[in-house]
Amino acid sequence: MKIPQVLILKFVIISALCAPLSVQGQGVVKGIVTSAGSGETLPGATVTADPSGKGTVTDADGRYALELPPGKYVLTYRYVGFGENERELRIEAGTSRTENVALAVATLREVQIDAARQAHLKGTQMGTTDLDMELIETLPAFMGEVDLLKTLQLLPGVQAAGEGNAGFYVRGGGPDQNLILFDGAPVYNAAHLLGFFSVFNSDAVDDVTLYKGGMPANYGERLASVIDVRQRSGDKNDFHGRGGVGLISSRATLEGPIKQGKSSFIFSGRRTYIDVLTRPFINEDAAFSGTKYFFYDLNGRLDFNLGEGSDLYISGYAGDDAFGFNSNQTEFSTDVDWGNRILTAGWRKRVGDKALFNLSGTYTNYRFGFTGGQDEFELRVRSDIRDYRLQPDITFYLGGHRINAGVLYVYHDVSPNNSSAVQGETVFDLGEQQQFFSHEGAAWIADEFDLTDRLRIEAGLRISGFAHVGPFNRFVRGEFRTNSDTLSFGRGERVAEYFGWEPRFQFRYTLNERSSIKGSFTQNYQYIHLANLSPLALPTDVWLPSTDVTAPQLGRQYALGYFRNLFDNAVEVSAEVFYKDMRNLVEYKENTQPQDGVGNNEDNFLTFGRGYAQGIELFLRKVKGKTTGWIGYTLSKSERQFDALNNGMWFPAPFDTRHDLAVTAAHAWSEKWTFSANFVYGTGRPITLPESGYFIENRLTLQYGARNSFRMADYHRLDLAATYHVNPVRTVTDPVTGELREKEKRVQSKWVFSIYNVYSRLNPYFYYFENEGRIEENTFNITARQVSLFPILPSVTWNFSF
């Protein structure tokens, strides 16, 4: 018998409405989960009530609420890197009781990932991964610099662009389709040194959550993923310090109370010093004499407990990369610098027993600058993007429903590739400087609830809008590469408007205590785009907002997954399949040169197309025992089609990786030694190669084949690390009893020895072609060359804390 769809719809609606009724007569247990050491709240902690099997996860402020039928329960609280805590309690019908819990920090040798193992089965979230810095710090790191973005790239569905690339790619999306948030503020370029390091100082980061599948309605703005990085709060009770000294950089962090138990501060700094170390030893006649490079990061955060369930925080970040070349051996000189400035403030207020109000405001600035000179000629190029954001939202519990609603407003001020040039006294007219002003907004509501004992639903609707406003001049290109007409818009005048519905839906169906099925649908609009002239992701890439010629990107993702826990939750396995459809993707037109945007609108050189990505991700993760780690494998395909590129034919996305494998393992060998390893493998990146050539004016000219129709050699690499924990105690003689006893050292420390690329695999960074000799001398020769960045690279880092 065929059931009419309208009846199914009615059933779903009535079931949803009836859900609160079904829990009448129940009791509520609620509270806040905090860190016993620092007093920080712990978002994402799991709370399970046995024997009911019900559970929940704490919100962004560490709060939870759980409705239970009357009876006796054991509540278990878990959080990554912390020991478990259990409470026995009795629930009375129609009553509400508060259980605030402080979890003690686990040592490194204890299980790291307790919290995730229940959420893995019982949450509705799929394609979501939480990583704690304690876990990340146990894994091998490039030059000993622990890096959370590098660790994220070991997860299935997240693909590194390879060494020397600033971006990373999630489920077939481009590098601009990842929203990286730092305390709620977007980070437009999260890479130092072309991606070898991220801007996130590990000492300043609390944890990170990656959303690559079903995206909750409170997130949006990008098609592929959200990487939500939270900065650490300072300890409200005691002063502490931590840091590390490595071969190329050092870092230091200081934290402590401002007012005992009420407020705290934390400040961190990091800087590379290879330029300082090498400068005295480089001969002025050397080819790279006059070269400098360094980067630095500064982080800070202040937290205030205002009482009556109210908290305030202010946090900031500043970081720059600076490269320069100014040698008396050549007439050329160059300075390139780029960096981020971030300031955030947030206020949280508990409203009654079941609601939490959040208000946050952020400022983000990313800027890139290039200055090049030769003799009296000087060219300057500047790109600048500023975002001002305001986001109030509220989370409340209504019956069995956890409801989140909020709004977001962003003001974008984008200045891409503004140039100036002088030659002696001649000032070139490079046209007016380009600046784009726009308003972006969103409103959402999401509801998470149990429809039945087995079926949990999270449904949400996000509405987003975007307005490009004046002052703005739209240049209309004429017969030549000059402008034939100009359309002028006054201050605040609407140039273009867009509006989009972004429905979100996720479900979890529990098959049994050990397995569940999850599914999700996400529709997103993206109003700001990254345009790459180079096949590689570089800091020179230009961010551009939607305008009258650039429509917002649209993405739809469908995902289905099977999740299972094995061996008493010691092992988690999952298999997820996804299909993603993308529209209005952005690329530069063929033969666009960096200088073409001068005196013109940068987006006049863009062309638009579509794409899709599909794949399956397999994940096996061992979370208990002396040996922990995971194996992640992704089989995927991502293609693009633009009418104006590649003769309109489909072509592989630049980051299309057919096979992607990552294996990580950490083994606690003894109290003193921990060993860890990473192995990664990825199918070679697609590239465009010249198939044929011809001579013009006696110079070889390249005729390229189909776009991205070749692949570089496969990428694989093994890294190893060993961590030596210096004895945390020393033996002292008790002055009273004269007996020997152990006393904790004031400074705790550990040495991390790591080897990057153990078998010195020369992975390709890029290929290039060199022609030498001359035709008429019969010495002409073409060679293809592969450039690889790093062979085997050992390092040692000393980390300390007090």
Binding site: L247, I248, I274, L277, I282, E331, D375, E425, T426, D429, E479, F480, R481, T482, L533, P535, L536, E590, N591, T592, Q593, V598, G599, L689, P690, E691, S692, G693, Y694, F695, E697, N698, L700, T701, L702, Q703, Y704, G705, R707, F710, L762, Y765, F766, Y767, Y768, R774, I775, E776, F780, N781, I782, A784, R785, Q786, V787, S788, L789, F790, P791, L793
Partner: protein, 316 residues
């Protein structure tokens, strides 16, 4: 700090900064050859056209293989007048400079080979200002067409040599130019040293375009500008003056001809993409793009130039 420690620090720094590089073999399929046009007509000169084919990029290229890419049985006409086929082993001395400049190869080097081009010997085809020249090529069953406009001659206001700020003997050619107040004006520059200087520097057998030789008035329409050019030199040249610190510079005592040509925008657009590709030299940081040809049905360029010449001596 001991010397040994310093040495290790330096070695470590170089280790980090240096990338590894190796020669690799790439298995790239060779597509069907396509026809390529390299043709030009200048004011006061007959048109010269070469018809060649593309070759597999990684195929070996010696002088014979290079010669085999030239198509010697094409039918070439300009404005409906057939061009005459002339091969390098029979080239009249008067036409040798044209051949050399068009191919960038000296007549001596190609004397033993049969590299054929097509020359307009009809007086009606001698390049004239403000004239459009329509090219038609029939070869291997294909028809290729193009049109190039030879604009009016525009001379620079002045051309001079100036030392590079940090050098007492090396410098550039500077030019002051007043651009007409019409959009789409495009230019090309060539240089040629014509006499040995006191340092016995080489003379150039023909004109060579310096980097940035093609430019248009996109950013200075109707204005007077002052720009500099380095010295054009042969590709991959190993002549002493073309390598090391003197590469791309004029040197005190050099006598050279500064050739300044007006051309049409499509020709500039071809050489704009040509120079971008030459400049990036397969760099991974540049987008892999094919050239913007003005040939219908094929590749290459059909160019018309209105040129002026200034002879200079490099003096401080």
């Amino acid at each position: 700090m001991t010397l040994n420690t310093k040495t290790h620090l330096l070695l470590f720094s170089v280790f980090v900064l240096a990338a590894c590089e190796k020669v690799i073999d790439l298995d790239v399929p060779v597509p069907e050859p396509r026809l390529v046009i390299e043709g030009r007509v200048e004011n006061g000169q007959p048109p010269v056209v070469f018809v060649t084919t593309t070759r597999g990029f990684f195929e070996p290229t010696d002088l014979n293989a290079f010669a085999e890419t030239f198509v010697d049985d094409a039918e070439v006409s300009v404005n409906g007048i057939a061009l005459q086929r002339i091969c390098s082993d029979e080239i009249p001395p008067a036409l040798a400079p044209l051949f050399e400049e068009a191919t960038g190869i000296s007549a001596e080097a190609t004397a033993g080979l049969s590299i054929c081009g097509y020359v307009g010997t009809d007086p009606a085809l001698i390049g004239e200002e403000n004239t459009t020249y329509r090219l038609e090529v029939n070869a291997r069953g294909q028809t290729l067409t193009s049109a190039a406009h030879l604009p009016g001659v525009l001379a620079p206001d002045s051309v001079w040599f100036r030392l590079w700020a940090n050098s007492p003997r090396l410098g550039y050619a500077f030019m002051k130019l007043t651009d007409p107040d019409t959009t789409g004006n495009a230019y090309r520059v060539f240089t040629r040293r014509i006499g040995p200087n006191e340092n016995n520097n080489d003379t150039d057998p023909t004109f060579y375009p310096p980097p940035g030789s093609a430019f248009a008035d996109d950013f200075f329409n109707g204005e007077t500008i002052e720009v500099f050019f380095v010295r054009g030199q042969p590709p991959n040249s190993s002549r002493p003056g073309d390598t090391g610190e003197t590469a791309r510079f004029f040197e005190i005592g050099d006598r050279f001809v500064f050739k300044f040509c007006s051309t049409s925008y499509p020709v500039y657009d071809f050489f704009r993409t040509y120079e971008a590709q030459q400049g990036s030299a397969g760099s991974p940081f540049a987008a892999p793009n094919n050239l913007n040809t003005n040939i219908e049905g094929g590749l290459g360029v059909w160019a018309a130039y209105a040129c002026t010449f200034d002879t200079l001596t490099a003096t401080p």
